[in-house]
Amino acid sequence: MKIRRIVVRLEPRPAGLEALAQLAEELQAELLALFVENADLLHLAALPFAREVGFPSAIRRSLDSAAMERSLQALAAELRRVCDAALGASSVKWSFRVARGSPAAALAAAAAESGAATLLVPSGADPRAAPVVVALPQLTEALLRELLEGKRPILIPEAAP
């Protein structure tokens, strides 16, 4: 089975982009770097009592939607820069995308897009680790959320014609 796409979820301070690029190059697959603006965070910021505990400062700050929007946008811009720096020089066909909603839903949607065999790489997971194989129809959001916790890649085989 030929993997055609690799979808990676990006989080702050992504590591191992070069290794992913190398893998994509070896497989001749295209690489999609996906940043999900987590809907949960936007909801949290919209709550009247919303607070954030800074890390590593441990300072408590109040949150609001506008500030959260701005920081997510800034983070997206930063991640795009990081991807440019890490992947710009490689020969791999790659793209960067920002989605909004639940991370699992966004990843599942990205995986389902082309119908080709897709490797989903959770943030910080080793892309060469043995993947969990799940057929697209079985890939519910709840299952995907659970799988993402496992830090293993998830292989979605090519959809049956």
């Binding site: 949960d40 965070l41 949290l44 009592f49 607070r51 954030e52 800074g54 590593p56 441990a58």
Partner: protein
């Protein structure tokens, strides 16, 4: 018969014979044909006192026995001192090398390391090699599987610990329907419904009690999270410590092995052992610096750059700054510092500009003359040391404390406030030889109490030395040696004789010869030039005389102008006839290195008065103190000679006619006395004679300086007007031994056309000048003074 009647009846001195006017150096006394045959002179010519002082000063190994070589410039002080030092230094031990190295305990106080002579460079190279080896060995140790695995263990453990703490809080939150969310800058808690964070709409629909409960719950969870996060830096520090320990463990074998090798090489040097042990400890503490330089990346832990010992060049601290080394030297060093400024003596700390600031470190410490001369000898010009700001104090401080402490002048005076160092002082053992004028020695002795303590050996050079057959030959050998050293033609014996005569004239003494090596060398070089012009292979007597004549010719423009003024009558000087109260005195003018004599008219007028002799030069502030003293002595002579039992009722005035500059010295006091006596006795003085000599209150004529120039000055005027045979000069008898007159003067005296009279007393002089016996002159003066006294008494009675 001389030009003047000198019959014993009137007690006049006889003129000197031509042979007494210049002591010839007979070339026939020399057995050699030219100086090429003469061996070099062993030892030093005519300076036995100075030589024995140098030998003593160099030999005595006690504190404060430094030398001060004094005497006029050009006498050969530097050459003689250096020659002696060289002969001593060869046999002495070569001193130790000195390095400055980093002080790991107190970085701003670099340590001074002493190494055996000539080994400093090898030690520096060994340290450079060590650093190179460490730069290979340490990164290699970090590449080992052992290090990587254990490092990963530590990092994973820390991550796991942090994750675990967060997960525990997340789990507790989840149990209560609350989710822990990672925000871009930290964490937040929010109530969840169906695995999703509750939306603001859903929140507002919740009953108020439920809202309060959830808020309180979240408040508690936030507190827990805060406490957990506060713990994390501690874990991180702990991990860092373990990582450092790990780095130390994996590199220890490599580092210790390399440094132990070096320690074994320098086993005999305890100071180096201690330094190398400190290096070993420091390397193990800062192994990351070696990785950095190897990889070209800043070492980091968890993405945070590690602190570096010196961000710019971390390994510079292991460099060795060789301050002074003697690998090429044999024996003790002899150093002459031409520019003895403070920094040039004690060394300096240089700075380099870094991002607009001036910074320095131990590698920028530079040696001074004292470092270079340490263990040997340092020659300095006293005047130069004294004229350089604070150099004298720095030199004394170093000699007193017997250590060289580098302190920048700007720093010491607070003029600059850049970061600087306090290098460890280097022990000092040096013999300093100051070379300077005598005046400086005596001034320092009088005004600087430390000087006598620090410069106990005075090396006093003579300006001249005795003449005699033996010394003439020694002088000839010195000439031969100098001619060879200067690559000049050899000198014929006539030329040697001419040189000796010239230098005897320079000494101003027929029984002496000048010891000025500079004058001698100049004369030889110029004689060699003229021999070359004449196409001779050997310098002849004529070449030496030509060199002397051309020296004078180049310098005597002013003398010629003055003589021209006399001959044209602008300056009134008679050389024939007689006149009362007027005498030709003689003065010497010194311009640059050239001195010449010229006649001056001195006149006196006398009248009834109160015994005061008025010195017009002094009244007009043109006379110097010695001149004034000479004139006051005249009052003493007059009072003692003529008015022992009665008041001296005369006033007289004395003047140097047509003198518009200052007059100093007492060599004209006899001339002034003759003018005064002539005025009082109304006895005309022969203007064909000129006079020089000072007098005392008893009327004895005393020696003066520049007698040759003075005689020649009057001779030149007389010759220009035509020598009559009656012209001559009166000189003090005591100056006869100083006569080294020009050949033309001697020839004129031999031909009876000019005379030089040696005079002992004023009586002899006045008799020569007036042609009358002194007793007759004195009798007339006494008569005159008695008349004045009578008149004075009459005046007082009238009043």
């Amino acid at each position: 018969m001389g030009p003047v009647d000198t019959s014993p009846a009137i007690d006049m001195p006889a003129p000197l014979a031509a042979g007494e006017l210049c002591r010839r150096c007979d070339p026939a006394q020399f057995a050699f044909a030219s100086t090429a045959e003469l061996p070099d002179l062993e030892g030093v010519l005519g300076q036995p006192r100075a030589v024995s002082a140098i030998e003593f000063g160099v030999g005595i190994r006690r504190e404060g026995y430094n030398l001060f070589a004094m005497g006029p410039a050009g006498i050969g002080r530097h050459t003689v001192v250096r020659r002696h030092l060289e002969s001593q230094a060869q046999a002495q031990a070569t001193p130790a090398d000195w390095c400055y190295v980093y002080n790991f305990e107190t970085p701003h106080k670099p340590r001074a390391l002493r190494l055996p002579a000539g080994r400093a460079n090898a030690f520096r190279a060994a340290m450079e090699r060590l650093v190179e080896d460490l730069r290979a060995a340490i990164p290699a140790a970090f590449e080992t599987d052992e290090y990587r695995t254990r490092r990963q263990e530590i990092e994973s453990e820390l991550n796991a610990r942090q994750e675990k703490a967060l997960e525990a809080i997340g789990a507790r939150a989840k149990e209560q329907g609350i989710s822990l969310l990672r925000t871009p800058a930290g964490f937040g808690f929010a109530p969840v419904r169906e695995e999703k964070v509750i939306s603001p709409g859903e929140w507002s629909e919740l009953p108020e009690d439920e809202q309060k409960r959830l808020e309180a719950l979240i408040e508690v969870l936030q507190g827990e999270l805060e406490r957990a996060i506060h713990e994390m830096p501690k874990w991180r520090r702990e991990a860092l410590r373990r990582l450092r320990e790990l780095a130390r463990q994996v590199t220890q074998a490599a580092v210790t092995g390399l440094i132990e090798e070096l320690k074994a090489e320098y086993a005999a040097e305890p100071q180096l052992q201690a330094y190398l042990a400190a290096v070993q400890e420091d390397v193990l503490e800062h192994v990351e610096a070696f990785r950095h330089t190897k990889d070209g990346e800043t070492p980091a832990l968890f993405g945070i750059p590690l602190p570096q010992p010196d961000a710019a060049e971390p390994l510079r601290r292991y460099a060795v700054n060789v301050l002074i080394e003697h690998s090429q030297a044999r024996g003790a060093p002899i150093v002459y510092e031409d520019n003895p400024a403070n920094d040039a003596l004690v060394g300096r700390i240089e700075h380099i500009s870094q991002m607009g600031a001036l910074v320095t470190d131990f590698t920028l410490i530079k040696a001074g003359a004292l470092h270079r001369a340490n263990g040997g000898y340092l020659l300095l010009d006293a005047l130069k040391v004294l004229t350089q700001p604070f150099a004298w104090e720095a030199l004394k401080r170093s000699l007193r404390s017997r250590e060289i402490r580098i302190q920048s002048l700007g720093q010491a005076l607070g003029l600059v406030s850049t970061v600087s160092l306090e290098p460890e002082p280097v022990p000092l053992q040096v013999k300093v030889v100051l070379v300077g004028e005598r005046l400086l020695y005596y001034l320092l002795h009088a005004y600087d109490p430390e000087f006598a303590e620090l410069f106990k050996v005075a090396v006093d050079f003579e300006e001249d030395m005795a003449r005699g057959p033996e010394s003439d030959l020694a002088y000839a050998r010195a000439i031969a040696m100098l001619a060879r050293a200067e690559k000049l033609r050899p000198l014929e014996r006539e030329a040697v004789a001419a040189v000796i005569e010239r230098l005897s004239r320079d000494a101003g003494d027929a029984e002496k010869v000048s010891a000025s090596m500079r004058t001698l060398a100049d004369l030889l070089r110029e004689s060699d030039y003229w021999a070359g012009i004449a196409g001779r292979a050997v310098i002849s007597g004529a070449d030496v005389r030509r060199a002397v004549d051309t020296q004078i010719e180049r310098a005597d423009r002013v003398r010629e102008r003055l003589q021209e003024h006399i001959l044209r009558g602008s300056v009134l000087i008679d050389s024939s006839g007689s006149r009362a109260g007027q005498v030709n005195a003689l003065a010497v003018l010194q311009l640059g290195g050239f001195s010449f004599g010229t006649p001056h008219r001195v006149t006196a007028r006398a009248r009834l008065g109160t015994g005061r002799v008025l010195d017009i030069e002094r009244e007009s502030e043109l006379g110097g103190p010695i001149h004034s003293k000479g004139v006051l002595i005249l009052s003493g002579y007059l009072a003692g000679r003529y008015a022992a039992g009665k008041p001296l009722s005369v006033s007289a005035s004395l003047v140097f006619e047509q003198s518009y500059g200052g007059v100093e010295g007492d060599s004209a006091s006899s001339a002034e006395l003759y003018a005064l006596l002539s005025a009082l006795a109304e006895a005309p003085i022969r203007q064909s004679l000129a006079v020089t000599g000072s007098v005392n209150q008893h009327g004895d004529v005393q020696a003066i300086g520049g007698v040759n120039q003075k005689i020649e000055g009057f001779f030149d005027v007389c010759r220009a007007r035509g020598l009559t045979g009656t012209q001559g000069v009166l000189i003090p008898q005591a100056n006869v031994k100083n006569l080294m007159l020009r050949h033309d003067v001697v020839a004129a005296v031999a031909a009876g056309k000019f005379a030089v009279y040696p005079v002992r007393t004023v009586d002899e002089g006045i008799a020569l000048l007036t042609g009358e016996p002194a007793a007759a002159i004195h009798a007339r003066i006494e008569r005159r003074l008695s008349e004045y006294a009578e008149e004075a008494r009459a005046w007082r009675q009238q009043k």
